[in-house]
């Protein structure tokens, strides 16, 4: 089911959480709402769910205006950050809840509910826990039960608030993969909120970057990474090095490949990803020296320092495969020449 948000704004007292959000999500996508904490992403998710009312604007689910619908009438499934499982019910009763509270006329028979609940528990691979209470489960298990519970009402839209936020790193990794494949299987339009850009890139088919209550950019993970729309997105997604062009000589800029033209604006900044920097040993004096390096597994991260007159020294990070770095035979303190393969310029 497609989701269309038009002109959504929300204030909490004097604090403006969302300004004029316009967003279209086509059917079947798995969308990440990505942004730093306090950017309004959870508020936006809660507004789509109907757990929060928008001050103005419209919410259309599958072309139907649902702005004034109560959360129970919107046909959404919501997975809470801390799962919000019903503590006083077994896992089975938790999952069956959504079917049992249905109006008598549309409620499935108890046998049907039992069958479906077990099927859902099998889908999340936890049917063997159906007699347990939520307090007896691990975080990852609770997460999956919360998901099964939300899916039980056959929602047209699945909304997940920081679905992996409260889990430890290894469980999180597994669950990310699992969520992706589950989405593939069910193909229900899903939106999840996260502050972790890596998670958004890994799981989502579409990423919406939010900052201070506004949408900065929307696109596929590759689009956002390769073509950041502005400084914020460029800095927030992945690692970025900043070069203020006016700090360097034109010769050096030309040599590295950061040069634009002779009359660039003084505040022009070039953003360069660590893996887009090539390093060679310099024979003469250069503004950049090698400070240190760390092993990241297959890659090595090289810390360089910009030594500029009248500026505090700033670090630049470059990444390259281990073998390549060894062949350069660099030592700490060496002057290096840079070759920038790819950069984004922002004014």
């Amino acid at each position: 089911m497609s989701i269309v948000l038009s002109n959504i704004s929300k204030n909490f007292g004097d604090f403006s959480a969302l300004h004029d959000i316009d967003l279209e999500i086509p059917e079947g996508e798995l969308v990440a709402l990505l942004g730093p904490s306090g950017c309004g992403k959870t508020t936006l998710l809660r507004i789509i769910a109907g757990l929060e009312q928008t001050d103005k604007g419209k919410i259309l689910l599958n072309g139907e205006d649902k702005t004034d619908f109560h959360v129970s009438q919107r046909g959404i499934g919501f997975v809470f950050q801390h799962y919000a499982l019903f503590r006083h019910m077994t896992v089975f009763d938790n999952v069956a809840f959504g079917m049992r509270v249905k109006d008598k006329k549309v409620r499935p028979s108890e046998a049907e509910i039992t069958r479906k609940t077990h099927a859902l528990l099998e889908l999340v691979q936890l049917d063997w826990l159906h007699n347990r209470f939520p307090d007896q489960l691990s975080g990852g298990q609770r997460q999956r039960i919360a998901l099964a519970r939300a899916l039980a009402v056959e929602p047209s839209v699945l909304l997940l608030d920081e679905p992996f936020g409260a889990l430890d790193a290894s469980v999180r990794k597994d669950l990310r993969q699992w969520l992706r494949s589950l989405h593939h299987e069910l193909n229900v339009t899903s939106i999840f909120v996260t502050h972790d850009q890596e998670e958004a890139m890994e799981v989502a088919s579409q990423v919406v970057v939010l900052n201070k209550g506004r949408i900065e950019q929307q696109g596929s993970p590759a689009e956002i990474y390769d073509h950041p729309a502005n400084v914020f997105v460029s800095k927030f997604i992945g690692q970025t090095n900043e070069f203020t062009l006016s700090h360097f000589t034109a010769d050096w800029l030309k040599q590295t490949g950061l040069y634009v033209n002779e009359n660039f604006a003084p505040e022009t900044v070039a953003h360069v990803r660590p893996h887009d920097i090539e390093i060679t040993k310099a024979t003469n004096e250069t503004p950049v020296t090698l400070k240190d390096w760390q092993h990241l597994g297959a890659l090595i991260r090289i810390e360089l320092v910009k030594n500029l007159p009248h500026q505090t020294p700033k670090s630049v990070f470059a990444e390259m495969p281990n073998a390549q770095f060894k062949s350069l035979q660099l030592n700490r303190g060496d002057n290096v020449d840079l070759k920038i393969r790819h950069a984004h310029w922002f004014n």
Partner: protein, 275 residues
């Protein structure tokens, strides 16, 4: 070394607990038991099956039960209002709730008796419009007991309501539950054990209450005479064996009832995964 415990200081704390229970609860109460042993079993039976005594027991336990039920209902609503809604004068209201704890019960009794007696402020109104008499009737006892026991319910339910995870309500709503379903299936089952505790406390308090009741009850034998009053009456007549026999019976019944409530609470908690 014997097995080490995860929680330290088991020995000193259990010793203290036993000492405390012995000094304050067990020794005085066992004295009561020993005193009543001075009676033969037939005498004991004669005393407690006396019509007036049986009637007093009926009055005491039925009014305490009725008051506990009503206090639980209203106490729950008061706790709900205090935790759920912001309103002007909430702090004042909070202090007001605890007042029955602090007030000498006799003062409460006299005040209630004054307004509920047939010529009193409320008593007159109820008599004229509903032909209802509260003062000097068993209903008056219930009113006094509600007054005394509401804070027990409010103060036991309130913290649980406060800690209640409102995300559970949101989750239930998102699954399509109506407001009423959210209340009956999510909120109430989570609050119920605490409410049961509040009920047990107010019931226990109601059974033993003396000061506030005697002024409003009218103390008519067979109708509105409570057991504690009967005990005092016996003591005043130097009928100490009679008083102890009644007291012991009351003690045993109260203890059994509280045990029953605790047991049902255990079942409720067990079924809702809290144990």
């Amino acid at each position: 070394m014997s097995q080490s415990r995860i929680m330290p200081a088991f020995r000193p704390t259990i010793s203290f607990t036993l000492l405390y229970l012995s000094l304050v609860v067990l020794i005085p109460l066992s004295t009561l038991v020993f005193k009543s042993f001075q009676l033969s079993f037939d005498d004991y039976l004669n005393i407690i099956t006396n019509k007036r005594v049986v009637a007093a027991f009926r009055v005491s336990f039925s009014t305490a039960l009725g008051a506990a039920v009503i206090a639980s209902f209203f106490g729950f609503i008061v706790a709900w209002v205090l935790t759920r809604y912001p309103f002007v004068g909430k702090r004042f209201f909070h202090a007001l709730i605890d007042l029955p704890f602090a007030l000498p019960t006799a003062v409460a009794g006299i005040v209630l008796a004054t307004i509920f007696q047939p010529s009193g402020l409320l008593g007159k109104f109820l008599k004229q419009h509903f032909d209802l008499q509260i003062g000097f009737k068993p209903a008056g006892i219930v009113v006094a007991l509600i007054f005394i026991s509401i804070p027990f319910v409010v103060r036991t339910v309130e913290p649980v309501l406060q800690e209640f995870d409102s995300r559970m309500e949101e989750a239930a709503s998102s699954l399509g539950a109506t407001r009423w379903q959210v209340f009956t299936k999510i909120i109430f089952p989570n609050i119920f054990p605490a409410l049961l505790t509040g009920f047990a406390l107010s019931f226990a308090r109601g059974v033993g209450e003396y000061g506030s009741v005697i002024f409003i009850a009218g103390n008519l034998p067979y109708v509105s005479e409570i057991v504690p009053l009967l005990i005092i009456t016996k003591l005043e007549q130097y009928d100490i064996p009679g008083a102890t026999a009644i007291a012991l019976t009351m003690l045993v019944i109260s203890f059994l009832l509280l045990l029953l409530i605790n047991f049902s609470q255990y079942i409720v908690r067990k079924r809702s995964g809290q144990l």
